[in-house]
């Protein structure tokens, strides 16, 4: 793609400079003359937005570091002082906080775009992997940064995430303590997190240079996924792509500004305005919105898998969810890049997007929340009005034999005319069976939408019946339920199946739609044309 350089120094100075440091030539070849496919649509403008986000985060971050104090006693106050007293602090702090969210909005769209148009396929595997590395670094940076204000979410988020590493067998605990610099999140942790949070963005900038380098080596993909055939398929990057990027960036800045100026706290969590308290966990710990899907995957594993306990399984699955992206270029077997020509794959892709959103939603919910149930919660209450209570002790010879012994005693009582019997175990082998003889047996069933509602009903009935009934048996029935955890499990299964099963098999079996010979030639009338 690079081809021979077309840069011609215009003045004496630039000719002189070009012989010594061809930096202007590099800039010209990379960002001016660089051939760009004609048919790129607006989904291709997110790279420019991401560059802007990185610059905004670094500049505002450097400014924040001038005023921030990485000390457990002063961290939150120093952020407050920045917002209240430092000139324009009220503007720059929300820019940094909102900027993180904007960065992730842009990166997710950028990634889904790459996924849809097959931008990870040969010869762009390294380009895609470098992108995944950047994403991983972004996640790490965001997590470290969220710790710095030292609010409740900072503290407990850091606690939970470092505890994930403790799930690793044998070395987990040592790694955890090494990372925290102690046995809990504390001053040493805050100090090192601050240092690393300052460092990582520059690493991201470095990998971004590699990412752009790889992009310029392979050339940009385009909505048809067809390779650029000739110069006629392309336009120079400047001004064509530059202008379009600038326009899109300007729209992006409008969204950014709406959040900074009118909803600076909408994307954050109220609990992070409460100073960190190691003695009290907030009622619910949730990460920032952009990590919620992974959080849902982590919590989806509430069962052990063979020798792997549920905690480790969740941790492994969470890391695998990102790790699998690195393998994507080799998991997708289709020879067609763009899903525009893969109608079936496109449907699966759209479901995948929905699944990611649903996972995000699940991550923010109480995992035990019931989403659907087959029928109401209910309980059958049985009691006897009047009658006489009889009692018989149970004594079993062994712990395992208790049930049998109790059943025998029950049988015996029933033989004496008892209509209702109940067993109360009072030890490993001891117990008592009570029964009632005579009286009128009463039964009532109560129902409710929640278990609590049923309990309330039971209490009411019990109070009504009162001491008149010495015998009161409650049989609770919980309907089969579908909880947030169950939903997360289904979604997690699809997330992994999409990469491990659907893409590999579909690529071999599907019949692609007709692909154009060149990118300039539209396949179906107006479809490719309308792209830009």
């Amino acid at each position: 793609m690079s081809g021979p350089s077309t840069y011609e120094p215009a003045s004496g100075f630039t000719r002189w400079l070009d012989k010594r440091l061809p930096i202007l030539r590099l800039a010209h070849d990379s960002f001016v003359a660089y051939p760009t496919p004609r048919n790129l649509n607006y989904w291709w403008t997110f790279g420019a937005m991401l560059s802007l986000c990185l610059v905004v985060q670094i500049v505002t971050g450097v400014v924040l570091a001038m005023h921030y104090v990485p000390h457990v006693e002063h961290a939150m106050d120093s952020v407050q002082r920045f917002r209240r007293d430092v000139p324009f602090g009220w503007l720059i702090q929300p820019m940094h906080a909102v900027g993180a969210s904007m960065f992730f909005i842009a990166v997710y769209i950028h990634m889904f775009r790459g996924l849809y148009y097959g931008s990870y396929k040969a010869p762009r595997e390294i380009l895609w992997i470098l992108g995944c590395v950047i994403y991983l670094l972004m996640v790490a940076t965001a997590f470290l940064g969220y710790t710095l204000p030292w609010g409740q979410m900072s503290f407990w988020g850091a606690t939970v995430i470092t505890n994930l590493l403790g799930a690793l067998p044998l070395v987990g605990e040592s790694i955890k303590n090494w990372l925290m610099g102690g046995f809990a999140i504390d001053q040493p942790t805050l100090n090192r997190f601050f240092s690393l949070h300052y460092l990582l963005p520059f690493v991201i900038a470095g990998v971004t240079v590699l990412h752009v380098w790889a992009l310029h080596e392979a050339g940009q993909n385009n909505p048809t996924g067809v390779d650029v055939k000739s110069k006629a398929d392309t336009v120079p990057f400047t001004p064509h792509a530059t202008m379009k990027d600038l326009f899109a960036v300007s729209l992006f800045l409008i969204l950014f500004s709406v959040f900074v100026f009118y909803m600076p706290d909408a994307l954050g969590h109220a609990d992070n305005y409460i100073p960190a308290n190691p003695l009290q966990t907030p009622p619910e710990i949730v990460p920032e919105w952009y990590l919620l899907p992974f959080y849902a995957i982590l919590r989806a594993f509430d069962f052990n898998i063979g020798p792997i306990d549920s905690k480790l399984a969740g941790v492994l699955a969470m890391f695998a969810a990102i790790g699998i992206l690195f393998l994507l270029p080799w998991l997708d077997t289709s020879r067609v890049r763009s899903m525009r020509y893969r109608p079936i794959a496109r449907q699966f892709f759209l479901i995948f997007v929905v699944v990611c959103v649903v996972l995000g939603w699940c991550g923010g919910q109480n995992p035990g929340r019931i989403l659907a149930k087959a029928g109401p919660f209910s309980a059958t209450l049985t009691w006897v009005q009047g009658g006489q209570v009889v009692e018989a002790p149970v004594s079993a010879s062994s712990e395992g034999g208790f049930d049998q012994a109790a059943a025998a005693v029950e049988q015996q009582l029933r033989g004496q005319g008892a209509t209702l019997t109940a067993v109360r175990r009072e030890g490993a082998t001891q117990g008592v069976v009570r029964g009632v003889v005579g009286g009128a047996e009463q039964t009532r069933t109560v129902r409710g939408e929640t278990a609590d509602a049923v309990e309330a009903e039971i209490t009411t009935v019990r109070a009504e019946v009162g001491a008149a009934a010495p015998f009161f048996i409650v049989e609770r029935r919980v309907p089969p339920t579908f909880t947030v955890t169950n939903l997360s499990q289904v979604m997690t299964a699809y997330y992994f199946l999409f990469f491990l099963l659907i893409l590999p098999i579909l690529g071999l079996r599907e019949t692609p739609g007709r692909v154009p010979d060149t990118i300039a030639k539209p396949v179906t009338d107006g479809k490719a044309q309308g792209a830009a």
Partner: protein
């Protein structure tokens, strides 16, 4: 025909140039306006500015004593002068001075009103290179002596000998009432 085409072409050029210049100018203005907050944030913050005044309770300073207070992070002497020191300062009003000033001028409050001879409020930084002078110890004029390079000030804080170019600067102060002054 050729003329008309060229005219249309010119219109086209003008329109295009106008859009580019307008967009470029707008972007430049936006960028410039964005830069300002990032520069201004390094200026003293509101809490720092609020500490730019210091109040001193004079009633606790004994005759012949001085207190050193911090004003804007810098030391200030508030000296309760004895009649002998006042007399000495006034006597030297017309001596040969490097930086001639009357003692009464050195007592002026920042609002222009006259001060009181027994209270002298000086910035405690030697006008040479900024060390804090000591009182009497080493001074041939009964005033302040700078240990760093030997500048010698009299009881009015005027430079009498040594490398310092100016008298000790008077800190801006006003009497808030009989026993309190505000510096700054």
């Amino acid at each position: 025909m050729a003329e008309a085409a060229s005219g249309a072409h010119e219109d086209e050029t003008t329109r295009r140039d106008f859009i580019f210049i307008a967009a470029g100018a707008a972007a430049a203005v936006g960028a410039a306006a964005t830069v300002w907050p990032f520069i201004d944030q390094m200026n003293p913050a509101a809490d720092t500015l609020a500490l730019s005044t210091t109040e001193v309770d004079l009633s606790v300073v004994e005759l012949g004593q001085q207190v050193r207070v911090l004003w804007q992070g810098k030391p200030v002497f508030v000296r309760h002068r004895t009649p002998a020191e006042i007399a000495s300062a006034q006597r030297d009003d017309y001596a040969t001075l490097k930086d001639p000033q009357l003692d009464s001028q050195r007592l002026l409050q920042s609002n222009g009103q006259a001060g009181r001879p027994e209270w002298l409020v000086l910035q405690a930084s030697c006008t040479h290179l900024g060390c804090v002078p000591t009182f009497v110890e080493g001074s041939a004029f009964g005033g302040w002596f700078c240990p760093c390079h030997g500048s010698d000030y009299d009881t009015s804080g005027r430079i009498r000998r040594g490398p310092a170019p100016h008298n000790l600067y008077v800190a801006p102060y006003v009497y808030m009432n009989d026993t309190t002054i505000r510096i700054g």
